[in-house]
Symmetry: C2
Subunit: 131 residues, 2 copies
């Protein structure tokens, strides 16, 4: 795969990372995301990392870089779906994901984005049913 697809949900963008991000792929994702944020005037970015069994220092830096670039373009980044084991590993590695907000899942991430950007809620129960 040479590109990670970026899905658009209203004013937000959603990326599902399912493979290990190598240098080139990570760079491409950063470029594509910032371009897309500008193109569609996106207010927020959700990055789903449910599939990732490990987040090392390289990956943590990529996530932080994406969040920083998005912020400059006035879009908020929320990382969702982090496995408990990944969170523990991050702490053990001393990585704090500076400047990156997190949420349990896509629903809760969307709710958080809607809250902080004052875009309309998608549904009354989004993120509220705990599944």
């Amino acid at each position: 795969m040479d590109r990670i697809p970026i899905m658009k949900i209203g004013r937000f963008l959603l990326v599902s990372i399912q493979v290990e991000l190598q240098d080139r792929l990570a760079l491409a994702l950063q470029e594509d995301l910032t371009q897309r944020i500008a193109d569609v005037n996106a207010r927020g970015v959700l990055i789903d990392i449910t599939s990732l069994e490990i987040v090392d220092s390289f990956m943590a830096r990529i996530l932080a870089d994406i969040a920083s670039a998005s912020r400059i373009l006035d879009a908020e980044t929320i990382v969702v779906g982090m496995r408990p084991a990944v969170a523990i590993t991050l702490v053990e590695l001393g990585l704090t994901l500076e400047g990156v907000r997190t949420a349990l899942d896509v629903d809760k991430g969307l709710a958080l984005l809607h809250e902080s950007t004052d875009e309309d809620e998608p549904e009354g129960d989004a993120g509220g049913d705990g599944s």
Copy 2:
């Protein structure tokens, strides 16, 4: 990767297929999806295939099977993000994706699902801005 992640957006499920589906992975996806539909009482399933450069007869059957199983569980399946070249190949192969609805992108797919399931619209402009 041994599992394709399933994201939940309100009462809908979203799957982004980014790798070639081999037998085992396709079967796992079908199992996971139907289980998840039952678990969260989902009304619709969006399958994003933006990344796929080819949809062969195996893949077409998988999509049709997923749609059939979902329908039995009262959830509608919409395939989104199909590349024009993929559509042409499907026609040339004589594959009609029987019973599978399609939409241009996730936004339009969500709008279609909201329409046909009478769930609330996420935003007034979802699917309407052509990006």
